[in-house]
């Protein structure tokens, strides 16, 4: 797809490279050599990655990355609401990831929905003698206390893999004994270089243990779709799912925001997979394509321009009745979105934003800011791969800085040089930049707001961005004395 080349006044490849070189100056030789390929000016026309990615984090540089367990528990498995997710190992990992991702859930907690912290709370003796026996018992206890749980996932923490426990055979036997799916997931935190491998491992366990084990009771329809890589952060899925339904599609399963195990298990019968977060779930889309012949399409539900583009692209895959419904939906919401833009754009026009998020939003949200008149002057990912950066090139203005697994020092240097009006990143970055007097929104968790997806999300997004940038509190940062 050809894009108009976007430029930003004062930003050239040379100026960006100079800024990068300056940020690298402080590093020891080895560190500099390792970091340099991860920082580069964007080449918008190329449509391909300008940085290296998915490499090991440089030890000792403050990285925002998490681990494979975080990718499995926090991202893929955790949001499935009707399962008990056991953090298998010591108490910490499950405690830190308990309620800290904002994947909202329907249902009654502890009854048919389980946003809780289940752990085997490994002690010294479990390390010495192994935790398989404890696992077997705790699976029985979980089944006993939570009879409506449709299944149990066993998410391994570091020690489990290191001491050589065999969670796979325990899960297999207990699954038979208790007659519910029990899915072992070897997502120990030391595996891979970031959360990303945890996503992949989790996708593989869905492939090996879940997909194809259920079918929908109602007859199939040509409009059956699944929404993949939608995690319902701040209620996002409660915006995107109804939107697709309004377009005439049957959303049979959501992976995995507010997700239900059996619906996920029956996804192999849908006619199309619609993927939002490509990074974390492209694997399963590809598996379902190869194994069941289900095509997939990658869409973007941030901001009216991208939503409109996405819906029309979606319509191309269906008959005229869907195309008509999509046009009606666009015609209905466009004026509402225009009103939002008219309200906020005068206050945001010409403002700049820097992004640093996980594996999707550093590219997917750029246009939503542009809808509000803003420009993205820097973007990067914690755990993206080359194909994510390929997809980013065309979205970002020419020559703006792209940073992969940015260290806190580099990020601070870039922000200091570019003086953005807003930074959108995570909790570990938030207060650093706020101390610098730079408005900030958490873009993993929507800063406890949301939804930001879909037509329902855009007014909230616009309000929040305006609130962050134009809060009168920022004018008080400098004391008059």
């Amino acid at each position: 797809m050809s894009h108009e080349i976007k430029t930003v006044e004062g930003i050239t490849k040379e100026s960006t490279q100079e800024m990068i070189d300056k940020a690298l100056e402080i590093y020891p030789e080895k560190g500099k050599k390792k970091r340099a390929p991860h920082l580069a000016p964007n080449d918008q026309a190329s449509g391909s990655a300008c940085v290296k990615s998915n490499r090991k984090t440089v030890p000792g540089l403050m990285s925002a990355r998490g681990c494979a367990y975080a990718g499995a528990k926090g991202v893929v498995w955790g949001p499935i609401r009707d399962m008990v997710h056991v953090s298998h190992g010591p108490v910490g990992c499950g405690w830190y990831s308990w309620g800290t991702r904002r994947n909202l859930m329907s249902g009654i907690t502890g009854v048919d929905s389980f946003a809780m912290q289940f752990t085997s709370d490994f002690q010294e003796k479990d390390i010495v003698y192994g935790g398989d026996k404890k696992l077997k018992t705790l699976l029985e206890e979980a089944h006993d206390l939570f009879p409506l749980a449709k299944g149990i996932s066993v998410l391994s923490e570091c020690p489990v893999g290191l001491i050589g426990d065999d969670i796979n055979s325990v899960a297999k036997q207990s699954s038979k004994d208790l007659d519910i799916p029990i899915i072992p997931c070897n997502c120990e935190g030391f595996r891979g270089v970031s959360q990303s491998l945890g996503h992949h491992i989790s996708n593989d366990t869905i492939r090996d243990h879940i997909i194809g084990t259920r079918e929908f009771a109602e007859p199939e329809s040509p409009y059956d779709v699944a929404l993949i890589g939608e995690y319902n952060i701040g209620g996002d899925a409660w915006s995107t799912k109804p939107l697709l339904e309004e377009c005439g599609l049957n959303v049979k399963a959501v992976w995995t925001g507010d997700g239900e195990l059996e619906n996920i298990a029956a996804t192999h019968t849908v006619k199309l997979n619609i993927i939002h977060c490509y990074r974390s779930m492209n694997y399963m889309c590809k598996v379902m394509e190869e194994k069941y012949g289900i095509p997939w399409i990658e869409l973007n539900f941030f901001g009216p321009t991208k939503i409109r583009e996405s819906l029309r692209k979606l319509g191309e895959l269906f008959d005229d009745s869907i195309k008509e419904k999509i046009e009606a939906v666009i015609a209905k919401y466009d004026p509402q979105m225009q009103a939002v833009i008219e309200e906020y754009k005068p206050r945001l026009d010409g403002k700049t934003v820097m992004l640093y998020v996980g594996g999707l939003r550093p590219r997917h949200t750029i246009n939503a800011y542009e809808d509000l008149g803003m420009t993205c002057v820097g973007s990067g990912y914690e755990f993206a791969h080359g194909d994510d950066y390929d997809r980013t090139a065309s979205e970002m203005p020419e020559a703006t800085v792209v940073y992969d697994d940015v260290s806190e020092y580099e990020f601070e240097q870039f922000a200091d040089a570019l003086k953005p009006d807003l930074i959108g990143s995570g909790i570990k970055e938030k207060y650093l930049f706020q101390k610098m007097g730079i408005p900030f929104r958490q873009m993993h968790s929507w800063d406890y707001s949301g939804p930001y997806h879909g037509y329902k999300g855009f007014p909230t997004f616009a309000r929040d961005i305006d609130m962050a940038i134009n809060s009168p509190t920022w004018s008080l940062v400098k004391a008059p004395f």
Partner: protein, 490 residues
Amino acid sequence: MSATETAAAVKYVTPTPPEEIARVAEWINTEEYKEKNFARTSLVINPAHACQPLGAELAAHGFEGSLPFVHGSQGCASYYRSTLNRHFREPAPAVSDAMTEDGAVFGGQNNLHEALENAYTVYKPKIMPIFTSCMPEIIGDDLTAFIKNAKNKGCVPADFPLPYANTPSFNGSHIHGYDAMLLSILQTLTEGRQIEGRCTGKLNLIAGFDANTGNYREYKRILKEFGIPYTFLADISDTFDSPLDGHYRIYPGGTKLEDAADSINGKATIALGSYSTAKTFTWIKDNFAGKHLAMPVPFGIAKTDALLMKISELFGKPVPESLKAERGRAVDLMTDAHQYIHGKKFAVYGDPDYLLGYVSFLLEMGAVPYHILCSKGTKKLEKELQALLDSSMYGKEGKIYMNKDLWHLRSLVVTDPVDAMIGDTHGKFAARDAKIPLFRFGFPNFDRVNLHRSPLIGYQGVLNMLSTICNKFIDITDETCDDRHFEMMR
């Protein structure tokens, strides 16, 4: 699995019937369920404690120019940092040496060395307290040797302080990591020093694992009122409560390293919170000059009185008039407000030292600590809590639940109701199910602003806790009473 097997195994998607959901929703509130719940032996649900390294990081943040250093997987470091970010709403700079699979095979020495060099060069710390997460603990990394080699290789200067603590997550909780790290920092900073026979004239004060910056400021204010010089060991108050003025400072505060090093020559050392300072205190007793005392965290009047009297005795200074007046004001509020809290039943949970504080404060008010729960405690703690309960007629109904979790607590508050809960944010689900307020005095607080700046200790703490609790009860009366009982005065 073959295609035919798959086909044979296929079942239909069957949503749970609403009546079944309603039945289970009722069942989990029953005595029968509670018994089943308490019969658990292996599954832990909603524990109220984290792992050792989190506490180690908190202690490490309490020193000037200190960059906490996680030897282990990078994901661990991100978890600890974000927990502290969320609780304080402040930065929490820390690094890790990002061990991965090859570290599991070859050990973590290469990662450690590279990380030390990078972190030292880029972030220019004055000290890097090193603590471990699971992986190096399991593969048995020899940190003593690794650190010696790092200095020989020149990753950091030979005299650069690198305290380290083994903080395995499969042992103890965050309070033990705090203790281990603090001990190692003090050992490292005082290394080679002897008690010199001179006295700094200072009080060394250790707060224990305490994530309330207001408490630290309150201790310092009290000592200032006394006119007593002090060294706070692990002072996180400026680290996690720094001003917003347009400049980011990576090290905004902390105990000066020289002061910490010289603490060995102090006039006296008081370690508050014996459950999170036990090891450190034992070592101090053998190695520091002056008097050494372990005292409870001063929640409530009696414990504050005891601390002030002890300070007065140690330094030969009377309790200042200003503090006497403060005490009088706190007692004034207690008598003014007692009618709103007297006889109210509370469920309390949290870290041992705080838990002891909640119980003694409630007993002083004539309130009833009813369910007392610690998800990582000891027999010693149980005895100490029981002795506290036995000391008051308001403690008669209190029952202690040791090594139980917040899912147990949920069963307790729905089957045997109380008026309120005291603990941390994680109890909000149980509180909501029981339709009672939760007072977030504990750590962490993820869902209310500014609480970490309100001291809970000392006479000021009494004022803060009491106004929070009593006004909430009055709010509830106003929100729930019928029109005829909606009155001007309360």
